[in-house]
């Protein structure tokens, strides 16, 4: 059963090389083709994408999306201190901040959820480059409207066969860790008003 | 003579409004003759020949010959020709350019066509001047020569197209002159026949715009100059530095057999097809 969703905005941000752009693309692919939502994904390009704060944005909705850019975030995933500092102000009231706890040592607020994604990738998988897929697993847990099966299919369709097994492991690890540390998804969003949300779109922009 | 008339009737366009634009004494007509004799000797069907020309006096040759002809833009003939050859490798593509056309505005296209080694025959009709626009200097105007835009003598060094073509990777590089018409015909024929990029620089006098300003009393003087100073490569190599001064070597300077780009592309496509079927 797919929930009716008004405009919902996510930003992945971090350093170039952390895989945030791939992460956004795969989540978008899964939500659009697997879960049947309308999704627009935009990202930073060029020099901006290779160093400093790289970002990938998603707008998700059950209705057609007019304006494709994310401006008022429901979820900000920050994988570096710089990205966190730069984009925290775009988080809307009640929006969720997810951080990489070893990279973001100085969170802007005490209201956040986080995991040491890089350390998990190194220690549990021996594959630091699979860090972004652990984040994808965690986010799939966090988002009540994201179906794990669709995400796994998106991973398979977007990654070369050689690295699929490793990434599926990383995805499952992310889901498990999120379940253990953040609790059931609906509780995470309490106070965000996701259920009864009928946002005035003007306010979003 | 009747043989010549026959070839003219066979290869020149009757519905084109002749006479041609060339001045008395111009060498370009001799190139035109060498070109149609070369195609005739090789026995190429007219439908299989595409002539792509640039802009300038030389560019007008395209309109006169009864092949598939494109009169392109200034300097860009080789880019059109590359598109034609890669789209239909069956066609024999012959590019006709002037010196300003090929080495100034189209210099980069010349370098890259040679580097790609795409099977095109590039004929550069070098008259050392911009003729059609009224006699301004070109990159091949000799040092010290007088032109409308070098009234006090050309300060810059002239381009050596042979060295350029060789360095850029053309399979075949030759220089001929309109005075040595048989030799020229052989070079054009060889360039058409061989795979890969063939560059033939052709020394073709322009009396109207170059000769008159540079102490040639008549067009005949310019041909006499060619006779004396366009020396075969073999003789040139034996000459002392002093004797070489003011002279220019003609002959074949590179003859290689590397496959043309269109052939390498076809091989790649065949390989991909085979992989897909497996």
């Amino acid at each position: 059963m797919k929930a009716h969703l008004k405009r919902f905005e996510i930003r992945f941000s971090g350093l170039g090389g952390q895989g945030v752009i791939t992460l956004g693309r795969i989540l978008g692919h899964g939500l659009a083709l697997g879960c049947g939502y309308n999704v627009t994904q935009t990202q930073s390009y060029g020099p901006e994408a290779r160093g400093g704060a790289s970002r990938s944005d998603l707008v998700i909705s059950s209705d057609p999306i007019s304006y494709p850019k994310a401006e008022s975030l429901d979820l900000l995933a920050a994988l570096s201190q710089e990205a966190c500092n730069k984009f925290y102000r775009h988080l809307k009231p009640g929006g969720i901040l997810l951080i990489e706890t070893d990279m973001v040592r100085q969170p802007p607020s005490n209201v956040f959820i986080g995991l040491p994604f890089t350390k998990l990738a190194k220690e549990k998988l021996g594959a630091p480059q699979a860090m972004n897929t652990i984040v994808l697993g965690a986010i799939t847990h966090i988002l009540p409207f994201a179906q794990p099966r669709a995400m796994k299919k998106a991973l398979e369709e977007n990654l070369p066969p050689k690295i699929q097994a490793m990434n599926l492991k990383a995805f499952n690890l992310g889901q498990r860790q999120a379940r253990t540390h953040f609790g059931p998804a609906p509780e995470i969003w309490e106070g965000n008003g996701m259920d009864e949300k009928e946002p005035d779109q003007r306010e979003v922009l | 003579m009747s043989h010549v008339t026959e070839i003219i009737h066979q290869y020149l366009r009757h519905n084109k409004k002749f006479p041609h634009v060339f001045c008395p004494g111009c060498g370009h007509g001799i190139v035109l003759g060498s070109l149609i004799r070369s195609v005739h000797e090789l026995g190429l069907p007219k439908d299989d020949v595409a002539v792509v020309a640039g802009i300038g006096c030389s560019g007008r040759i395209a309109a006169y010959v009864d092949f598939n002809t494109i009169h392109s833009t200034h300097g860009r003939a080789l880019t059109f020709a590359t598109g034609v050859k890669m789209s239909n490798p069956k066609l024999h593509v012959i590019c006709i350019m002037g010196d300003g056309d090929a080495t100034a505005i189209g210099g980069n296209h010349l370098i890259h066509a040679a580097r790609r080694n795409v099977s095109i025959t590039a004929l550069v009709l070098n008259n050392n001047i911009y003729g059609m626009t009224g006699g301004q200097c070109s990159p091949t105007t000799p040092e010290g020569a007088s032109a409308m835009t070098t009234p006090y003598g050309q300060l810059e060094k002239a381009f050596d197209m042979v060295e350029l073509g060789r360095a850029a990777g053309a399979n075949y590089v030759a220089r001929g002159s309109v005075f040595q018409a048989n030799m020229l015909e052989r070079f054009i024929r060889t360039a058409i026949e061989r795979p890969g990029f063939g560059l033939v620089e052709i020394l073709s006098p322009c009396y109207t715009q170059f000769g008159r300003k540079n102490h040639f009393k008549t067009p005949v003087d310019m041909y006499r100059w060619l006779k004396e100073n366009a020396v075969p490569r073999e003789s040139w190599e034996k000459m002392t530095e002093e004797k070489r001064r003011g002279r220019i070597p003609v002959g074949e300077f590179a003859i290689n057999d590397a496959p043309g780009l269109e052939q390498r592309y076809a091989e790649m496509a065949a390989r991909l097809k085979e992989e897909a079927e497996r």
Partner: protein, 385 residues
């Protein structure tokens, strides 16, 4: 595309960039030649064609030494019978103007995609703008008609690329598809119909024997048939003003015949060429005229206005040139004001003023800071109109 058919066409869904949709559309339209030069934000089109064309039947991909050479090769390929294209952005588009003119004069079908970024000069390589609109219309020298199309979302990128090829082939003319960085670099879900779901137009080839063929002769549609080079029809193609045989001419009557035909072959098919979409226009008092990614913002802005009780409507332009005068005027109805939001200082608003200022007030809404015009900006402009 068979938009009228009730049953869903066969095809597949993709989560694709605007640039990827352009490449998909080109392949569906039958493009077999791409000549290009890398430039942000259009490079993905080139990369996909580099991957796909060599694997397809007689597909040719070439990376050329610059944009002048790219369009030169595309013209050569088109004359040799290929459906051919290139894609670029502002700086490269400037270099292509010379050959766009040649393609107009020599009636060479081809498609140029220009993904607009901030300018002038190197400008803003990864930020959107709509500054090339009048350049697309008038960038090449000399008087000439031209077709300039646009797309506002990823699905339209696919459809309008097919349409671009169709119009190029149908009218023997270069077609420019103007996108902006946002449309090109947004990924979204699109439906890619099977190629046979589209009506694909191919150039007409001569039916008469070669000795009767006059390459630039007047025809019913004003568009002469065009044989591929090497098919037995040996003729002359030139950028010089030419007679019906393709040879240079200086005769005023022949010059006029050619020029008038070049205009007429486009002019007389305006209804086929001038494509616009509308939204809530029937009773609208205020109409927004937009194109490209701004049309997306405008749609939301119009909906916001409707919610607040203002009768607003949207006309989004898929064809920018020939400027869709009649389709626009028909939709203006009883509107009292028109707002034209653009990421430039007013390149389409001047066209709207030209055709509509005698009946409604036309206001420009401009943004040139490298960012998209937001729905809120448009909503505010509607509220104040």
């Amino acid at each position: 595309m068979s938009r009228t058919s009730a049953k869903r066409p066969k095809g597949r869904e993709m989560f694709a960039l605007g640039n990827e949709a352009v490449a998909e559309g080109a392949l569906i339209a039958g493009c077999t030649f791409y000549g290009g030069y890398p430039i942000t934000p259009s490079s993905e089109i080139m990369e996909i064609m580099a991957r796909e064309l060599p694997r397809r039947e007689s597909g040719v991909f070439l990376q050329m030494e610059d944009e002048i050479a790219s369009l030169g090769a595309v013209i050569g390929a088109s004359l040799a019978g290929r459906k051919a294209m290139t894609a670029t952005s502002g700086p490269g588009f400037s270099l292509m103007q010379e050959h766009i003119g040649y393609a107009c004069m020599a009636e060479t079908p081809l498609v140029v995609v220009d993904v607009m970024r901030g300018g002038p000069s190197t400008g803003l390589p990864t930020s959107p703008a709509q500054g090339d609109v009048q350049q697309a219309r008038w960038g090449t020298h000399g008087d000439h008609p031209i077709i300039v199309l646009s797309a506002s979302n990823v699905q339209e990128c696919l459809e309008m690329t097919v349409t671009s090829f169709n119009m190029a082939e149908k009218y023997r003319t270069p077609v420019i598809l103007l996108l902006d960085e946002i449309t090109a670099h947004t990924r979204e879900k699109i439906f890619v119909p099977e190629p046979d779901e589209f009506a694909i137009f191919n150039r007409t080839v001569p039916a008469m024997p070669p000795e009767w063929y006059k390459p630039f002769e007047e025809t019913v549609r004003g568009v002469p048939p065009m044989p591929p080079l090497g098919s037995g029809y040996r003729f002359h193609t030139t950028g010089l003003t030419h007679d019906v045989n393709g040879f240079p001419t200086q005769r005023p009557d022949e010059i006029e015949d050619l020029m008038l035909r070049l205009f007429r072959k486009i002019d007389q098919f305006y209804p086929d060429i001038q494509l616009v979409d509308d939204h809530q226009c029937e009773d609208a008092e205020i109409i927004v005229v937009a194109y490209g990614s701004v049309a997306r913002s405008a749609r939301l802005g119009v909906d916001m206005a409707r919610e607040s009780g203002v009768k607003a409507g949207l006309v989004s332009l898929r064809t920018l040139f020939p400027f869709p005068r009649n389709p626009l005027i028909q939709r203006l109805g009883a509107a009292r004001a028109v707002i034209v939001p653009e990421m430039n200082m007013g390149q389409i608003s001047r066209e709207v003023k030209r055709v509509a200022s005698n009946r409604v007030q036309v206001r420009a809404l401009n943004r040139i800071d490298g960012d998209i015009i937001t729905p809120t900006q448009i909503y505010k402009a509607i509220s104040q109109a």
